[in-house]
């Protein structure tokens, strides 16, 4: 007689052979895990801040219009949703994550990734010339191109970055490319470089009519440890000139989040991964917020920004942070991002691009919306600065909107708003996407 253990193993083997697991299970797990990382890293700082504020003034509900809960002063404006003529133009199965909003020709174009439960993500675009009548474009998205790597309008062309693998004589060669389209239907891929192993890349416009591409080069395809940021510019998308750093350290362990150009000044925002001396493979790097600045296409200079504020409540990871975006004002520049290990929203102001003053968000408010997760900042011609993103508060994922009228030195909540914004002919517009279906927003100044 066959013993029980053998029967058991045989039965389990049969059962195992009948089990089918769809790839969508893993994709869903990754999305869940990503959200959890954001919530976890934010929770300590946000909860602590809310606890202090709540004990002092009572914690108001985060539902409703935050504008009524600003402690002092008056708002200069507010965000309002715009109902589309076709109410279903943004709807669809699953979440849609908006990656970019960009003025393009006489329109505004919105780029997003739809994530149905099946895990079969698709890239979509919407265009409108008035914010009300929208056309949805089911894109024939070039494989390998990254909807998160920036969306640049250059004349009648839109540009995105791509990462592709070419097999030559049995060897994989990873390359960085730029894809362009004039109609959102046909795409042309332009080769930038294939000299190395590459992680994510970004594209930005300028200076002048040039295009700037950044990519993270690594010797080891499995890790970003010791990786180096490299930057190229081109005026014809054919000949790419690599831009240099002031020293060999300038681009070491740097990771970029955005490329912006203001006249002759190109600013790359991001962070520097700072591994403690002798750190083992399990020890995380400290992410220090950083900007790289080039004037008139000269060598980039790196500046690591301060994250120390007068905040009395921190997560104990005060040095960690990242710069996500930067805008120009009448007297200088304002960058936004996060500090305190991702728990706190921060802004940095500078008049000379060398000295930056850090400003913490929202601690004086009686009701503190989520502060982390700031992604974009725009500047209006009247000097108003608007910052937006999506982050976490005690209710989970939410959008973030802040505004400043003093060149970024102080900030107040701007109520509910979009998570990705752009300046469309001096009219701030944006899209929110989390949670639920995307919505288009426009910012109006109070009269």
């Amino acid at each position: 007689m066959i013993d029980l253990e053998t029967q058991l193993r045989s039965t389990f083997a049969q059962h195992h052979d009948s089990v089918r697991v769809d790839r969508g299970l893993l994709d869903g797990a990754i999305r869940k895990g990503n959200r959890r990382i954001r919530v976890r890293r934010a929770a300590l700082g946000v909860a602590a801040v809310l606890a202090v504020i709540g004990s002092a003034v009572g914690l108001a509900s985060l539902e409703g219009d935050d504008r009524s809960e600003v402690a002092a002063g008056t708002d200069v404006g507010h965000w309002s949703t715009v109902e589309a003529t076709d109410p279903d133009v943004f709807s669809g199965d699953g979440d849609t994550y908006i990656t970019a909003v960009t003025p393009w020709k006489d329109q505004v174009v919105v780029l997003g990734v739809r994530q149905p439960a099946t895990g079969d993500n698709t890239v979509l675009a919407w265009t409108s010339d008035n914010g009300i009548d929208w056309e949805r474009h089911e894109l024939d998205w070039p494989t390998g191109c990254d909807p998160n790597g920036g969306l640049v309008a250059r004349g009648d062309q839109l540009l995105v970055t791509c990462r592709s693998i070419t097999t030559i004589a049995g060897e994989d060669v990873v390359s960085v490319d730029v894809a362009t389209t004039a109609d959102l239907a046909r795409w042309t891929v332009h080769h930038v470089t294939s000299d190395g192993q590459w992680f994510g890349s970004l594209v930005g416009s300028g200076p002048g009519d040039t295009v700037t591409v950044q990519a993270l080069a690594a010797q080891d395809p499995d890790t970003t440890v010791g990786a180096r940021t490299r930057v190229w510019s081109s005026s014809d998308l054919t000949i790419w000139t690599e831009m240099t750093g002031e020293t060999v350290e300038t681009f070491l362990d740097g990771q970029a989040t955005a490329i912006r150009t203001f006249d002759e000044v190109t600013i790359i925002t991001g962070m520097v991964n700072d591994w403690p001396a002798g750190a083992g493979p399990d020890e995380p790097a400290v992410m220090r917020p950083a900007v790289w600045v080039s004037t008139a296409a000269g060598p980039f200079r790196r500046t690591i920004l301060d994250t120390n504020t007068t905040a009395s409540v921190t997560s104990g990871n005060e040095a960690a942070g990242v710069v996500m975006d930067v805008a120009a004002t009448s007297s200088g520049y304002v960058a936004v991002g996060s500090g305190d290990g991702g728990s706190t929203g921060l802004a940095w102001t500078s008049t000379n691009l060398s000295d930056w003053t850090v400003v913490s968000f929202g601690h004086a408010s009686t009701n503190t919306p989520a502060q982390n997760g700031l992604r974009t900042i725009v500047s209006r011609s009247d000097g108003t600065l608007l910052a937006a993103g999506d982050g976490t508060n005690v209710d989970g994922l939410t959008t973030i909107a802040w505004q400043s009228t003093d060149r970024g030195r102080s900030w107040r909540p701007a109520g509910r708003g979009p998570s990705v914004i752009a300046n469309w002919n001096d009219r701030p517009v944006g899209m929110s996407s989390l949670p639920g279906q995307p919505r288009f927003w426009t910012w109006e100044r109070e009269e």
Binding site: M1, L4, E5, Q7, L8, R9, T11, F12, H15, H16, V19, R20, V21, L25, L26, D27, G28, A29, I30, R31, K32, G33, N34, R36, I37, R38, Y97, V113, Q115, N121, V123, P142, T143, G144, C145, D146, N148, C162, S164, I165, T166, T167, I168, A169, D172, F199, G200, T224, Q255, P281, D282, P284, M287, V322, G337, S338, G341, G342, N372, G373
Partner: protein, 193 residues
């Protein structure tokens, strides 16, 4: 020279945009992919028998992979990541109220609802040996069932099973012995032998 062009798939946008996650965004999923390839079917299968509900098992497995993904340092030690995956999954499964309802659903799936509470040996007379064996496993007390599944279904060693369940290796051995003894009794094996 032949040149074959191949493009890489799209990056999960949330993984890229989430602020603190830029650091490892293209490193960790590779390890997670490997863990998924090696363990997903074993995990879902074991959880299906443990809970008696395939849909519930997939939910639990997805949650377990999500937590492993969110705890990236675990993935840097592949020899321990499987134990951690099963630990998360089985802790979740055990902590949920659904177990009792799932047990009922499992028996329903094996036969009629009047099987619930019926001696497993009575089922064996009318169904295949495999179904009878699975019913016997399903009827085991929770801890014994977990040990049997992790050790015999998921091929975890006694030490890995102990690590996954947060108990000692001696406890695992005891639960395995008692579980097998209970199954022999329910299957009538002792009488036959």
């Amino acid at each position: 020279m032949m040149r074959q062009r191949r493009m890489e798939g799209m990056v999960d946008p949330q993984a890229v945009v989430a602020l603190p996650m830029i650091l490892d965004v293209e490193v960790t999923p590779l390890a997670l992919e490997e863990l998924f390839a090696a363990q997903s079917r074993r995990l879902v299968g074991a959880l299906t028998i443990f809970t008696g509900d395939a849909a519930e098992a997939e939910d639990l497995a997805q949650e377990a992979f999500a937590r492993v993904h969110a705890s990236r340092s675990r993935l840097r030690a592949p020899d321990r990541s499987a134990s951690y995956l099963y630990s998360v999954a089985f802790n979740l499964a055990r902590s949920r109220w659904r177990r009792q309802a799932s047990l009922g659903r499992a028996l329903l799936r094996l036969g009629r609802n009047d099987d619930i509470g019926q001696d497993v040996s009575a089922i064996s007379a009318e169904r295949g040996n495999a179904a009878t064996m699975l019913a016997a496993v399903t009827a085991l007390p929770e801890r014994q069932r977990a040990c049997v599944l992790l050790h015999y279904y998921s091929d975890l060693s006694v030490a890995e099973t102990a690590s996954a369940l947060g108990i000692s290796t001696n406890s695992v051995k005891t639960h395995l012995q008692r579980g097998l003894a209970a199954m022999r009794a329910s299957l009538g094996e002792e009488n036959r032998s």
